[in-house]
Symmetry: C2
Subunit: 350 residues, 2 copies
Amino acid sequence: MTKLKNDLFLRACKGKSVEYTPTWIMRQAGRYLPEYRAIRKKADFITMCKTPELAAEVTIQPVDLIGVDAAIIFSDILVIPEAMGMRLEMIESKGPKLYNPIRSMDDVNKLKEIDPTKDLKYVLDAVSLTKRELNGRVPLIGFAGSPWTLMTYMVEGGGSKSFSEIKKFIYNKPKAAHMLLDKIADSVADYLSAKIEAGANAVQIFDTWGGLLSPADFEEFSLAYIQKVISQIKRKDEPVIVFAKGVHYKLNKLANCGADVIGLDWTMELGKVRSKIGNKVALQGNLDPTVLYGDNDKIKKEAIKVLKSFGKHNGHIFNLGHGILPDVPPENAKYLVDVVKEESKKFHVK
Amino acid sequence: MTKLKNDLFLRACKGKSVEYTPTWIMRQAGRYLPEYRAIRKKADFITMCKTPELAAEVTIQPVDLIGVDAAIIFSDILVIPEAMGMRLEMIESKGPKLYNPIRSMDDVNKLKEIDPTKDLKYVLDAVSLTKRELNGRVPLIGFAGSPWTLMTYMVEGGGSKSFSEIKKFIYNKPKAAHMLLDKIADSVADYLSAKIEAGANAVQIFDTWGGLLSPADFEEFSLAYIQKVISQIKRKDEPVIVFAKGVHYKLNKLANCGADVIGLDWTMELGKVRSKIGNKVALQGNLDPTVLYGDNDKIKKEAIKVLKSFGKHNGHIFNLGHGILPDVPPENAKYLVDVVKEESKKFHVK
């Protein structure tokens, strides 16, 4: 195995000392990069996910172009529902569509258990290929959606504004909901284990829709299954990151779910969260993604604010509080990474 | 002036003792009611807003049909941008559109200062007419959008998913943004003062998009102007409610902004918020609106949870944590109001 030349990200995940705060950016392999759009022109989104060469290429682009301290494998959280038997389509400028959404216990029973080494071999191949091509430059992150977030898509049949179908499902068919969450949790755990086996140095669980739930519902329908996933992942020392957007409540419980790192959106103050939950987990985040619409002065000022809020401690991975937006100028993303590298050194003086 | 037969809502807003916890429901005059849809069939949304007889009729419907303890005048927050000179259209199943969105200081300068007694006379007429027809049964609430929320619509030109235009505007043209917020704040204050003069017993400021902002930006671009509005409203004893969706941070500052009541969304726990900010304001909320998709047992259980979370104190107005959804069965809304009336009595025993 190639030794990592830059392991700052992994050290920060474990709360160890670093020379500067490592940065990666959610959706860093994405539409804001002209180099990404050039490939996207030749292949549709799902084809890109399913072609290891293309996935590896766009995964590595931000390492070369933006200078991030970690790569995250290009893929989509909905490959799991597809592998479980649902038909997936990405509709241009509209978003994902899952046909025949799940609405009953019968629908749940029809979903198959996945074997990632067969059903999602293309992702594992992309991970191995990317690792080879990265050649130890930076760590590679694998990811999956949380059971709650995947179930939301599977029941809504795609994105939603009011999320009425998923709420009807959990309130009126709680048994089927728990059965489905359980089934998804097993698939997610197997999938993340296989990604680590294929070479991922860390994994992130995206709970994009956790914040839709009331605090009690979040514990019952989301957190419990994130815990289940984490407890089942086969790993050595690979860190697990949980990003639960909008989950400003239950931070203490989230910090105790087994994750090494909690990702925070931009509505939370890192310093306040840190003093609330202590040092038991590292924190990842959390610049408002729209700050990258500003000029360099604004970006620098706001990046320093985030660093200051966290303070002179170990255990911070710099990131945006949500995915980078498609119309952000790439030079602004690069400037952010540069500025964090430079300015964060002051926060890591021995 | 007709004496109010049911003033529980006003007493609760002031933290006074009540026999039971009063309830009203955001968007209670809305599409979930077949009686509303019958009128909406005959007139489009904007015509309904501009015809006092129709506005009064749908405002009173939930008082008769659902049994709420307060009415809220049927209208829309975007009547202010329209009165300031923007062309407004409601596009069926798509939402509001404001033509020629604001993008520069020039655009801001072109907006006119409103005189509510002329430019928004139709709303004031609707308020007076509704008051007459309510004949003291329950109090009548007037409302407006917060300056930040109105500016968001005015700059985006309608709703948005990424809110990139408004963020570009505040980060790259902060002077124009503050000028616009100032101008809107004056209009909102004049408008709410005129509504009180016309007979509104209370007013609510909706900061629907406050939660898009980082904590520091929320203070600078939203809270400061909510404070300005409240300080300028001409009122005697009429309570002011601020509902800032997603603003889980800065609750202490929000509680000190001059409002009598803070409305909370369903991701916050009333009891926790109360013990954090104390008794200086009443709290309104905050049942997850999707609970109304559940059966009676579920609705009752969750309503009691909200009552228990607030506890045996004065100063609670029961409401949903956001607007009622259009596909909720009206009988579920009625059941909720009945159950709160009955169950909350135990929380108000002397």
